[in-house]
């Protein structure tokens, strides 16, 4: 097996680039808490409405600087009354589904969460700009999938 000198140069460049990409995302994810949405919490998909925090969906202030937003996704909408949160504070979104798989995606933000029945997806995000943001479902969930949306207001 023989590598041409230029092929060695090219592969070294390629592999180093890949290592750099991985280091950048790895360090930013694990040391600055920029991991994608996820979480290991489970829930009975038929008892969502009786299980905290989804028995009381919407915004709750946890402490001075942190808010929690609990949302129930279902075909074809979100059970999430009064979505108003402040800018500059950490917002922890917790989302689950009572039926099929959906997503909870806030336009123009890093919030792009898959919502799986039986599981609770968590994502922490801090809004910088006040305004009204479109929330939509980007995982196919049925005939009304493209209508599944709502709004969050950041003040």
């Amino acid at each position: 097996m023989h590598f041409h000198k230029y092929e060695k140069i090219w592969l070294s460049f390629g592999i180093v680039s890949l290592i750099v990409f991985l280091s950048v995302v790895g360090v930013s994810a694990f040391s600055q808490n920029h991991t994608p949405s996820g979480g290991m919490d489970t829930i009975d998909p038929e008892k969502v409405n009786e299980t905290a925090p989804f028995d009381n969906p919407g915004v709750t202030q946890l402490d001075e600087d942190t808010y929690q937003v609990a949302i129930v996704a279902l075909a074809f909408g979100y059970n999430a009354p009064d979505l108003r949160v402040p800018a500059g504070k950490e917002i922890i979104f917790k989302v689950t589904s009572t039926d099929v798989v959906h997503s909870f995606t806030i336009d123009d933000t890093k919030v792009n969460m898959m919502v799986v029945p039986g599981r609770i997806t968590t994502k922490s995000y801090t809004f910088e700009e006040p305004g009204k943001y479109l929330i939509l479902c980007n995982e196919y969930c049925g005939t009304g999938h493209h209508m599944m949306s709502t709004e969050i207001e950041v003040y």
Partner: protein
């Protein structure tokens, strides 16, 4: 042995430049989306 020799001598300068063009596309696209990610 003969083969190895001849393979060494092939002029692949154009290839080197071409693959680096590919490399630049990869890095440029990646950096662009990374910056979008950071900005959101």
């Amino acid at each position: 042995m003969d083969k190895k020799q001849s393979n060494h001598e092939v002029n692949l300068k154009g290839t080197l430049v071409s693959v680096f063009f590919v490399g630049i596309v990869i890095v440029a696209m990646w950096v662009a989306v990374y910056l979008m990610y950071v900005a959101r």
